[in-house]
Amino acid sequence: MQTQILDIRGMTCAACSARIEKVLERKPGIASVSVNLTTEKALISFDPSVITVEDIIAAIEKIGYQAILPPQEPARDKDRERKQQEIHTLWTKFIISAVFSVPLLYIAMAPMLKVVRLPFPAGLAPMNYPLIYALAELLLVIPVIAVGYRFYTVGFKALLRRSPNMDSLIAVGTTAAVLYSLYNTWQIIAGDFMKVDALYFETAGVIITLILLGKSLEAVSKGKTSEAIKKLMGLAPKTAIVVRNDVEKEIPIKDVMIGDIVVVKPGAKIPVDGTVTDGNTAIDESMLTGESMPVDKKAGDMVYAASINTTGTIQFEAEKIGSDTALAQIIKLVEDAQGSKAPIAALADKVSGVFVPIVCLIALLAGAAWFLGKGFSVNDWDVEFALTIFISVLVIACPCALGLATPTAIMVGTGKGAENGILIKSGEALEIAHKINTVVLDKTGTITEGRPEVVNIEGDVLQLAASLERYSEHPIAKAIVAHYNGEYLPVENFRAIVGEGVEGDISGKHIKIGRGIEVFADGEYLGKIAVSDKPKQTSSAAIAQLRGMDIDIVMITGDSRKTAEKIAKQVGIEHVLAEVLPQNKADEVKKLQNEGHVVAMVGDGINDAPALAQANIGIAIGSGTDVAMESADIVLMRSELTDVPTAIDLSKKTIRNIKQNLFWAFGYNVVGIPIAAGLLYLLGGPLLNPIFAAAAMSLSSVSVLTNALRLKNFKGGAVK
């Protein structure tokens, strides 16, 4: 199975994204499709032996949308420029249409105003010069229609393909208004001057203008939702200084090759990932990790693209370039998350898919019902009234807000997470995180520093232990080796037994170091080494915050119960799962899940990977291993446990925001459509003017976006 992201252009509402998903899901070989209206991207999982990317692109283009492979790194700027250009074009179109719509609305409304008498050109007085008045309105509406031609080309095409979208609603509604007004203009020419009262040119003009305004605001807001990505992309420097043929040379970043020796001077950004070969410095990695303190670097240490060299000049060997750098991986991760869908969006997607055809039907039925109802009951065969109802229903009912409700909040939420060093890998993870009621914390490296120190030695065992442990990667082994300054004894037949300890042959004796760091020679007890790992400074605060969120906290460790409980007591954890073998950690998580807990597992080591995968949400500490981060749903770039409550808090706020958005989007349509269909009028209230319907429709999208943007105010670490 292969996964492909495609940029989709030409989508205007949730009906479009739903249509693309529907069409692709029917194609053989496609396993899953997720089309995101906000990011304008499709994430497609497919079997390349059955269907090719070209086939998928062709299928999308066949239904009227443009599908293109996402641009590579150098083209990203162009893509951003294109989006900026789109916003500029939309604003220009809005301004042009407003320039014509404002006078159009004025001449249409001024003669009708009852409260104040506005100045009005005598030569246009509708009752005296009805034809000139109608032609003046027509003259003003034509440029507006020309500017909004895209609603017609896209809308009618979609209608002909029997997949109407928002543009179809606008196109049908405004076309009905214009055609009816043209007919009445002809009636005026034919001598029926009263038809001057039945002109709806301004309705069409103002609707188009308001929709363009809504689209412009929407485009600007969409741009703001992806600011996190823009910030990340903007971090990478454009050039690098490399040493070639013993000469320092500044070259474009894309020309840096693996193995190049890169020179970075104080104040400059690290251009690619690599290992320091010469020099000492402190590097500000806050843009990647959120950690504000610069990190000391010397030969052998890794440096990462986009971090800032603060004090000394260093040279390093380029090891990861282009899309392989940590920065590129983070950008991809955030992009993927922003493009993914949360399960909560499923309902909105389902509704959007059938929404437009149903609205068309409601508009027709409501218009017909009023025409026939008034006709038969009071002998008032009022075409204009029925038309007003028809247009209002079409215009007020737009699934834009529904389509934007979830993805915009997820975009802002995941972006905000990234800004705080919390990489949320998918919308689903973001959604599930808010349900977490139990957090299982790995001890070593998660609660504690992960750098244990020798505190006591019983017996003459240090040389033996250090000689053996120097072949192990375990933090305890490293602590023993670090504590020993003498010569090592040669070791044969070294073996690390996961969860048990290490063993090997030294000087003809079989030496074994068990879990309690007890040293045995050919089965004879020689002594014991005691090590201690300090809790991180912020662990207690993080655990208190989690408890304040009514979340159960469980510590899980392979250490002895005594050691585990000592640490647990220090940080305020009551529920301890000690002496758990790495392979059993996932089982412990499963047990908790079976008891009805929604579990987040927080860990950093390879041994945590199965438990991270088993948990409802796996949270990897950023300083941990690649495997742990691969298995996790959320990665904390800083090694701070306080980011766990922050991530859960962000999830809760994002989901609350999505729910608010969905409430308003659904509520808007549930209330708006009956009003547009004349319910209030039926009960003695006013009839909704199509112009107000257009304004309400545009406002609904803008209000949903504005609400999503409120998430930008989220402050990391604000959980009490």
Binding site: P111, A122, L131, P143
Partner: protein
């Protein structure tokens, strides 16, 4: 985009210029009013339309220059309009209704209490009448080959004083505004409209002069829709319709 904007600007400028240049041709109400007036005049019996130089029986003395007098059925009321507004007549009115005062006097009118611009004509040869109308302006009407016709005179009025011409949609009537809320209306289509001509009077001055509007014989006191300060309102009027019996 710039080209498109330029094209739109050119389009709108051309469109607006065309509307200005062809304003008269596109004036369906003004042109329709002249046509309908012409048809109405043609439908009048020969004796009902007189040049006042010939109208020796008219209540108003001959004026110089002349006006057209349209006698309505019953011969008690007439509509008078100028043949050339450049030369004012003795009562300084270019268009006016000349109506018999007897029905109003019988309904309580004290003629001396009418406003000054309501000119009471107390002539021995005719019943008391009042001229209600006004001066349109001082434009000179030029006639082709000096042939002064009723239709041509009205065309000049409609052309020079277009803002006085209107259309009363509910009745299917064109009208000429005589000022002070008074109007002369004629049917857009005299073949189908039962009320070919209607005199419309503002009842207020008459009520102020003692008239009970409900009791004016031959006149109907009713509410009609009218545009007032840019909005449509229902106003009370005294109405006198005439049917020219044209089919």
């Amino acid at each position: 985009m710039k080209k498109a904007i330029a094209a739109l600007v050119v389009f709108v400028v051309l469109g607006a210029s065309s509307l200005a240049v062809f304003h008269n041709q596109l004036d369906v109400v003004g042109n329709g009013a002249v046509k309908a007036f012409d048809k109405m005049v043609q439908a009048l019996p020969e004796s009902s339309l007189l040049d006042d130089r010939e109208d020796k029986t008219a209540g108003l003395p001959a004026t110089s220059p002349s006006a057209w007098h349209i006698y309505l059925p019953g011969d008690s009321d007439k509509f008078v309009y100028s043949q050339n507004t450049a030369n004012p007549n003795v009562i300084n009115m270019d268009v006016f209704l000349e109506i018999a005062l007897d029905p109003f006097i019988n309904a309580g009118l004290h003629p001396e209490q009418l406003p000054e611009n309501y000119q009471v004509l107390d002539l021995s040869a005719a019943p008391k009448a009042v001229a209600i109308g006004g001066k349109l302006g001082d434009k000179t009407f030029s006639y082709k080959d000096d042939e002064i016709t009723p239709a041509e005179s009205f065309r000049h009025i409609a052309s020079f004083y277009r803002n006085t011409i209107g259309y009363h949609a509910e009745m299917g009537h064109y009208n000429i505004d005589l000022g002070s809320g008074n109007m002369f209306e004629w049917a857009k289509d005299i073949r189908t409209n039962g009320k070919d001509i209607v005199f419309v009077l503002n009842p207020e001055p008459f009520i102020a002069a003692g008239v009970d509007p409900e009791k004016v014989e031959g006149w109907t006191y009713a509410q009609v829709p009218a545009e007032e300060n840019g909005k449509m309102v229902q106003v009370w009027k005294l109405l006198k319709p005439f049917d020219l019996a044209v089919s």
